[in-house]
């Protein structure tokens, strides 16, 4: 029974549920308490110990049903010959020959006998045992299907059955039992294949998904395809959440500190030194303020979607952040982020703001009027863009002002550092006025950069 539970945990993990070790321990203790007899009771006991969040309830229910429904060999009927033999043993001639296949009990003959007699429970049991022996739960990609089908068949004794078929057909090639046996063989093969497919669906999704995620995280953002957008959003969200959690705590110190003895003494002087009132030293709560400016023009279009995605996620998580997007004019996109679901918001912004003719100069002039008044020494200014200005006026002076007034100017450039300053890139001219300037072209890099950024923010 323990093996069954372990398989269930594996299947749950396959469905994307995060099953912690101590939840597993709880679950097995719970099962020991409630027993296996009552299916509903078992299900609710497992659910309450294993599932820790509401959205996971549906996932669990689905997985539980799939795991405990076992359909292999369900529609098995005794073969007509056997039925006839049971009706009138002496009337039908082939019946005694089938009897000989049933004698062994084990090996191939046993298998054939099971199918002939329609003993689906015994067949299912054999299938399960064989699956456990070959470790079928380790299956994780579809290309392993053939391998596991072969292995499972061998474990169940199909090879011996094949030999038997060959033997019989060599002796009497036209015998009716050869046809029957071939049918049995086909039948068993189909059941095994279905079973392996089921198991692949149950156990195979999690590792494949993990592989896909790893791929997406290290891949250059420009190379990621549109169809992975949904998946990317989930990854980005997770990263943003992790960052926000790790760094929010730092900035929220305890509001009430220690007893302020000096102040307490001074205030209580009125009571003749009897200290009725106490005073507490409190610490100032420091919340980060972030102003993010994102280039969405044609030259960085491939990146822009993901940078906006990241900004969107940050918007959901960080309390004080203003987001702007630009091609040649600065547009405040915070309201769009706040009011729309992510995909729509990103599409809308790219549609409305994106386009040709990047103009960093005009953008900085807009910054001068719209953003600069809001910048103080607590503000971090985050600029995402390639600094390709189409040879226009770079307005470096405004960046200098930002540099002086803000706590930090951070520039994340999707281009390789080697290309900075090449062609119409103004990066080399902006560089002196950035506190931090980094290359940032994949999710991994983005995460690392922002982590550093928030860490220094907390300390500084």
């Amino acid at each position: 029974m323990r093996a069954t539970l372990e398989d269930l945990f594996k299947a749950l993990r396959g469905s994307g549920l995060d099953v912690a070790l101590n939840a597993q321990i709880d679950a097995s203790r719970a099962v020991a308490l409630v027993g296996w007899a009552d299916r509903d009771l078992l299900k609710s006991a497992l659910r309450t110990t294993l599932v820790k969040a509401l959205p996971d309830h549906a996932v669990f229910d689905d997985c539980f049903e799939r795991f405990f429904s076992f359909s292999a060999f369900r529609q098995l009927r005794p073969s007509p010959a056997v039925q006839l033999a049971q009706l009138a043993p002496s009337a039908v001639s082939p019946a005694p020959t089938f009897g000989t296949y049933g004698q062994g009990g084990n090996g191939a003959s046993g298998l054939a006998a099971m199918v002939f007699s329609g003993d689906s429970a015994a067949l299912a049991k054999r299938l399960k045992e064989a699956a456990r022996q070959i470790g079928l739960t380790d299956i994780w990609v579809f290309s392993q299907k053939g391998y596991y089908i072969q292995k499972l068949q061998r474990q169940m004794g199909l090879e011996a059955l094949d030999r038997e078929i060959a033997e019989v057909s060599r002796q009497t090639p036209t015998a009716p039992q050869v046809v029957e046996l071939r049918q049995v063989r086909q039948r068993v093969f189909e059941e095994v294949r279905n079973f392996v497919e089921q198991q692949l669906a149950l156990y195979g999704t999690a590792p494949t998904r993990q592989l896909h995620d790893d791929f997406l995280q290290t891949q250059k953002l420009a190379h990621i395809e549109r169809r992975d957008f949904q998946r990317m959003h989930e990854i980005v969200r997770r990263i943003a959440k992790r960052l926000a959690e790790r760094h929010a705590r730092r900035n929220r110190r305890q509001l009430r500190g220690q007893l302020d003895f000096r102040k307490t003494l001074r205030r209580n002087a009125t009571y003749g030194g009897v200290m009725f009132e106490t005073f507490w030293r409190s610490e100032v709560v420091d919340r980060p303020r972030v102003i993010a400016i994102c280039d969405v023009s044609g030259s960085v279009r491939a990146y822009a979607r993901f940078l906006l995605l990241f900004l969107y996620s940050l918007n959901e998580l960080v309390s004080d952040i203003r987001s702007f997007a630009f091609t040649n004019h600065l547009v405040d996109v915070s309201p769009t982020f706040a009011s729309m679901p992510v995909e729509q918001a990103v599409d809308k912004i790219i549609g409305a703001v994106g386009g040709r003719g990047t103009d960093y100069g005009q953008m900085f002039l807009d910054v001068l009027t719209q953003v600069l008044p809001k910048v103080d020494r607590k503000t971090t200014v985050l600029i995402l863009g390639d600094a390709r200005n189409n040879h226009g006026d770079a307005q470096v002076g405004v960046l200098n002002l930002l540099h002086q007034r803000s706590r930090r100017v951070v520039w994340l450039n999707p281009e390789s550092r080697l290309l900075w300053g090449q062609g119409d890139s103004e990066m080399k001219r902006y560089l002196p006025f950035c506190h931090i300037a980094r290359e940032c072209s994949s999710l991994k890099q983005l995460e690392r950069v922002l982590d550093d950024l928030l860490r220094t923010h907390g300390n500084g």
Binding site: D26, T48, K52
Partner: protein, 333 residues
């Protein structure tokens, strides 16, 4: 086995005290019915396991489905005190666990000035005075000057208790982290006194309205229970229990009506507690079945937003007729 437990934990397990009430899931269900709390199978299973596995339960669900009520009923069921800790932003250790009565301490030092002078008489030099004072200063950090807060109280109950930590999602993440220690070991250390251990491990119920995501660490330590809005038969049972004297037909109509309202696009869906309030109101008004006039006048009992009320008023005739049909189908012509 018993002595092995005693080695690992010196206090008494609540488990050994109330085994009778928690012998099986069915028993738990019946016990809850006895105190007029209609527990679904899922709730009964979770409470049964929580008791037998000694685990806190994290209860989630929309407002007003009886999360807090669950803890109250549980306390009533095994007849132990319910200790409630209401969480809010800024809640910290000193409000949840214990605090020194600073005012009292300071006052005592002032009042005892003479005594102190007396005590100090015959001592030469500053060092000797301080030495003598040191022999007494522990007095001021003893349990006399300790203000026990809910968590501390919960550890000191002789017969165990139900500890309700209400709306944990409102508290800060820091407090959540602090709670982890208390929940896993049921002991706290007061630096000046030492470690205080629970006399009897309490049964802990945490509730959350999902205003923010709780930390994984906390979730891992708890059993998870989600209470959704009840389905119609369960809600009828709840009304039967909570509003005695309510006619069966009205009960049917009322529940069908509320269930239909919950399917509408509303700012806030009517909760079970509001259904109960409404049933009480209708009972007071001597209603025998739902009629348009009366429902329109009493909508504000279960709908709390102007928009929702306006929305519901528009669809009122349809809603009432479906409710009446449902009741008729059930055999209340």
């Amino acid at each position: 086995m018993r002595c092995l437990l005693a080695v690992t934990y010196s206090g008494i397990y609540m488990k050994n005290l109330y085994q009778q009430q928690f012998s099986s899931v069915d028993a738990v269900e019946q016990q809850f019915a006895r105190v007029d709390y209609i527990a679904s199978r899922q709730i009964a299973t979770t409470i049964y396991l929580a008791y037998n596995l000694q685990k806190p339960v994290l209860v989630e669900g929309p407002a007003g489905v009886g999360k807090t009520e669950l803890a109250k009923s549980l306390a009533q069921l095994i007849d132990v005190p319910l200790i409630r800790l209401q969480c809010y932003e800024g809640l910290d250790e000193s409000k949840a666990l214990y605090e020194w009565k600073y005012g009292k301490q300071l006052l005592y030092t002032q009042l005892l000035k003479d005594k102190l002078a007396e005590m100090m008489s015959g001592v030469d030099g500053l060092a000797a005075s301080i030495e003598r004072l040191h022999a007494h200063d522990d007095l001021f950090f003893s349990t006399h000057f300790l203000e026990p807060r809910p968590l501390y109280q919960a550890l000191h109950q002789e017969a165990g208790c139900v500890l309700l930590i209400d709306e944990i999602d409102k508290a800060d993440p820091e407090f959540e982290a602090f709670l982890l220690e208390v929940l896993s070991d049921f002991q706290v250390s007061v630096p000046e006194i030492g470690t205080v251990q629970a006399k009897v491990k309490p049964l802990v119920i945490l509730t959350s309205n999902n205003t923010r995501e709780l930390s994984d660490a906390l979730k891992r330590r708890c059993l998870h229970l989600h209470i959704p809005f009840p389905d119609a038969p369960l809600e009828r049972l709840i009304l039967e229990r909570r509003v005695p004297g309510l006619a069966a037909r009205l009960n049917h109509e009322l529940v069908a009506f509320i269930q239909a309202v919950r399917l509408m696009d509303l700012k806030k869906q009517p909760s079970v507690s509001e259904t109960i309030d409404w049933a009480h109101t209708l009972l007071l008004l001597n209603a025998e079945h739902l009629d348009l006039e009366m429902v329109r006048d009493t909508l504000n009992i279960f709908l709390k937003f102007e928009d929702d009320i306006a929305n519901a008023k528009e669809q009122l005739p349809g809603l009432i007729s479906t409710a009446q049909q449902a009741a008729r189908h059930a055999g209340h012509a």
